[in-house]
């Protein structure tokens, strides 16, 4: 039992045949002896040797057959010799022989069965990666499996017979072990040992008390597994987990972990197979709401508590955070869920929440699945409060719009004289035509045709005045930008008409070059006109002191790259001193009373439209300011210039 001799199958079969052969020969010999010898002894008892030999080598069936055969042989010999004899010691001898043969057969069978079981169990011990050590009552090693060899580094030959505790320098909680073994006969726990090469290892160990048939303890069977690597991995994982917790809890922005398992189950059950998740959720907001209601937030950090004005951490655990999404923002989660389900790494989305104090906040969310866990059980959400940023941006836009409006009003002021004049002319004509009509009517023969003509002229001049007012009103408008399709030609001509008077007074000739007809740009009418008027005014003023050459203002319209139109305003003044780009800086002015904001506002407007504005000095004289504006998307026509 302590040494399992493993013979190779070939030799094994050879030995088997030898045994069987000997058994057979012996059986025949005994039979002959029994039959022919006058001896009185129970020769037939010797058949048990045959049975025993067969049991060593044959199958259970062979053993049984042998037993029966030997019994038959004994009986045959008896009958041959003593048939008809009265009941005497020969019968008794037969009886004893038969009993002996039967006993031997049965015992051999049981022995064989037991040996098979033991052999299998022994193989099991060998196969185990775990170490199996069997020790006697004095802790000396009597069994040492392959696993133990591999782990401790001592071979079987070296280990057997040695004192286990000494050989392996075991550290065992002796008291606890004794108590457990005494009470229940087994113990499980962790022990520390030293390998042959000196390294200490930690093992998880199970000990079983060995008892003899009387119940006396005669030693211990032990099965152990090396925990060292596992322990090291555990320690590493704990360290990593602690590090993660430190970052999680200490982060300045809000983080929380959510379990989306329930939500995913709901979606799997509700969303039809093969549907586009994002689109479907967008169409079924009530299902999206239900889905969000199944998100379970497991952990939040301190910054998240602050973000939501929550009283404590616990208030945010559970479904509290998803429930605080403002209804207007819920729809955004449709795309989020679709993207994360489709395995996009990280998703960003801005949503609005309601805090515990009822305050609405804008939050930029960044979500990702943590892949080390079961599919949806850990979704990491990082959140940045962008409310202030959005508010600041809105304020900035507001301030920008107001500044632009102020600039327009200022321009209006500069144009006031012109505008007043523009309105006075038709008014003057109206008065005159009115008086004319009265004269025509006051004649002895009232001239109706002339009167009607006067009235027509009155109407026409009235409209002319109204147009001027309308243009002025456009320029003075205050309000948010309204982007639309702007026909370039009328826009430029209107801007020109606003400064025409000024130009005429300064004796500046205005020319429009290029094809603006049928071209439309995309933008806000008021703002674009503001820019054009500003540039035209600047150009006129730049030529105020020009002597000896024509004062010409040329407006150019031409297509530019990337589906843009370029409008250029060219004057024949004295050009820009220094770096032309400087004129777009705020507070840059060449006028003594200039505010200096006009061109910087122009640049803001043009850039907000997606274009660029530049200035350069002309090779001959004066400067040219060019701006680009995006073409309006054509409604079915060719893109670019028609």
């Amino acid at each position: 039992m302590t040494e399992h001799r493993r013979a190779t199958p070939a030799r094994y079969h050879g030995r088997k045949r030898l045994f069987l052969l000997i058994a057979g020969l012996l059986a025949l010999a005994l039979f002959a002896l029994d039959l022919l010898s006058p001896m009185q002894g129970a020769v037939a008892v010797l058949y048990i040797i045959v049975v025993l030999l067969t049991a060593q080598a044959g199958s259970p069936r062979a053993v049984v057959l042998t037993g029966l055969g030997c019994g038959a042989l004994a009986l045959t010999a008896f009958l041959f010799m003593h048939l008809g004899d009265p009941f005497d010691s020969a019968y008794v001898r037969l009886g004893v022989s038969l009993i002996a043969i039967m006993a031997a057969t049965l015992l051999s069978l049981r022995d064989r069965s037991a040996r098979t079981t033991l052999a299998e169990q022994a193989r099991l011990l060998e196969l185990s990666h775990d170490t199996v050590i069997i020790r006697d009552a004095r802790d000396h090693i009597i069994y040492w499996n392959d696993g133990a060899q591999a782990l401790y580094g001592w071979t079987r030959a070296e280990a057997i017979g040695r004192h286990c505790g000494e050989l392996l320098h075991s550290e065992v909680p002796a008291g606890a072990v004794e108590a457990a073994l005494a009470r229940t006969g087994h113990w499980a726990g962790e022990i520390t040992r030293t390998r042959r090469d000196g390294t200490r290892i930690v093992l998880t160990s199970r000990w079983l008390l060995r008892r003899d048939p009387e119940g006396e303890s005669i030693g211990v069977i032990e099965s152990s597994a090396d925990l060292t690597d596992q322990k090291r991995a555990d320690a590493e994982r704990q360290r990593s987990e602690r590090r993660y917790q430190t970052i999680f809890n200490g982060a300045v922005f809000a983080i929380w972990e959510a379990d989306w398992t329930q939500m995913q189950a709901y979606l799997a059950a509700t969303v039809p197979e093969g549907a586009d998740l994002g689109a479907w959720l967008a169409d079924h907001p009530e299902d999206l709401h239900e889905a969000l209601g199944r998100v379970d937030v497991r952990d939040v950090n301190a910054a998240a508590v602050d973000l939501f004005d929550a009283p404590d951490r616990e208030a945010l655990i559970g479904n509290s955070i998803p429930a605080r999404v403002l209804p207007s923002s819920e729809g955004k989660f449709a795309q989020v869920l679709a993207a994360l389900t489709a395995d996009a790494g990280t998703i960003e989305q801005e949503v609005r929440y309601r805090t515990f104090t009822g305050r609405p906040i804008d939050v930029l969310l960044r979500m990702r699945r943590l892949s080390d866990s079961a599919a949806w059980s850990r979704v990491l959400v990082m959140a940045l409060d962008v409310t202030e940023r959005n508010e600041a941006r809105a304020r900035l836009e507001q301030a920008s719009a107001e500044l632009a409006h102020a600039a327009r009003v200022s321009t209006l002021g500069q144009l006031a004289a012109s505008i007043a004049h523009e309105v006075n002319q038709p008014l003057s004509a109206i008065i005159t035509y009115g008086k004319s009509a009265k004269r025509w009517l006051a004649r002895p023969e009232p001239d109706m045709a002339e009167t009607v003509n006067c009235l027509d002229q009155i109407v026409a001049n009235g409209s002319r005045a109204a147009d001027v007012i309308a243009r002025v009103r456009t320029l003075a408008r205050k309000g948010p930008a309204e982007t639309g399709r702007l026909d370039l030609d009328p826009l430029i001509r209107e801007s020109v008409s606003l400064v025409e008077r000024e130009a005429r007074q300064a004796q500046v000739a205005i020319r429009i070059e290029g094809e603006g007809a049928d071209v439309a740009v995309q933008g806000d009418r008021v703002q674009v006109q503001q820019v054009l008027v500003n540039l035209l005014m600047n150009a006129v003023q730049a030529m105020r002191n020009v002597e000896g050459r024509d004062r010409e203002l040329r407006i150019g319209i031409a297509p530019a790259a990337d589906a843009m139109m370029r409008i250029s305003v060219r004057d024949s003044g004295s050009g820009i001193d220094g770096d032309p780009a400087r004129i777009f800086e705020p507070f840059f002015s060449t006028k003594a009373d200039g505010m200096g904001m006009g061109l910087s506002i122009c640049r803001s407007i043009i850039e907000a439209h997606g274009g660029r504005i530049t200035a350069r000095n002309n090779p001959d004289c004066g400067a040219t300011i060019s701006l680009t504006l995006p073409l309006a998307p054509s409604a079915g026509g060719p893109s670019g210039m028609p």
């Binding site: 006075n424 002319q425 003057s428 109206i430 008065i431 005159t432 035509y433 008086k435 004269r439």
Partner: protein, 154 residues
């Protein structure tokens, strides 16, 4: 009464003072030339003076008037001051240079003291502010023509 109307020094307008019916008949059929680049103002004045019975011709530029073949028929010139290319003052200078025998009335929407002084120095019979009151203009014209002793005909 002087017969060289260019020398009449009126710095303002005479508002229809005491012009009798006969004189009214005298000034009718006078030839008035109006020079103004603003079409509507010019047309309205032309219409009005026509309704008053005068023979009125309109010109959209000073150059147009100077080039007109019937320029000499003018009994009175009414001109705007601010015009592109040649303004009212330049027109006055040019007319003085080549010689004229009719009075000049200057009107403007921007009556600066400097312009007024210069215009008068160049011999304007009157310097009127826009918006023009047509009745006042008519009185002014009649007064000037009467003062200059003009009657109908060339």
């Amino acid at each position: 009464m002087e017969d060289r109307p260019g020398k009449a020094h009126f710095s303002g307008g005479i508002r229809g003072a005491g012009v009798g019916q006969e004189q009214k008949a005298l000034v009718q059929a006078a030839v008035i030339s109006i020079v103004d680049d603003d079409d509507d103002v010019r047309s309205s004045l032309v219409n009005y003076l026509r309704a008053a019975g005068m023979d009125v011709r309109g010109f959209s530029s000073a150059g147009g008037f100077l080039a007109a073949p019937d320029r000499a028929e003018t009994d009175c010139l009414v001109t705007d001051l601010h015009m592109p290319e040649m303004d009212g003052l330049d027109l006055q200078r040019e007319l003085n240079r080549i010689g004229r025998d009719f009075p000049v009335i200057v009107m403007t929407a921007f009556p600066t003291p400097g312009a007024r002084a210069e215009s008068n120095r160049l011999g304007a019979a009157a310097f009127l502010e826009k918006p023009i009151d047509p009745d006042a203009l008519l009185d002014q014209v009649e007064a000037i023509l009467t003062a200059a002793g003009r009657t109908g005909g060339a």
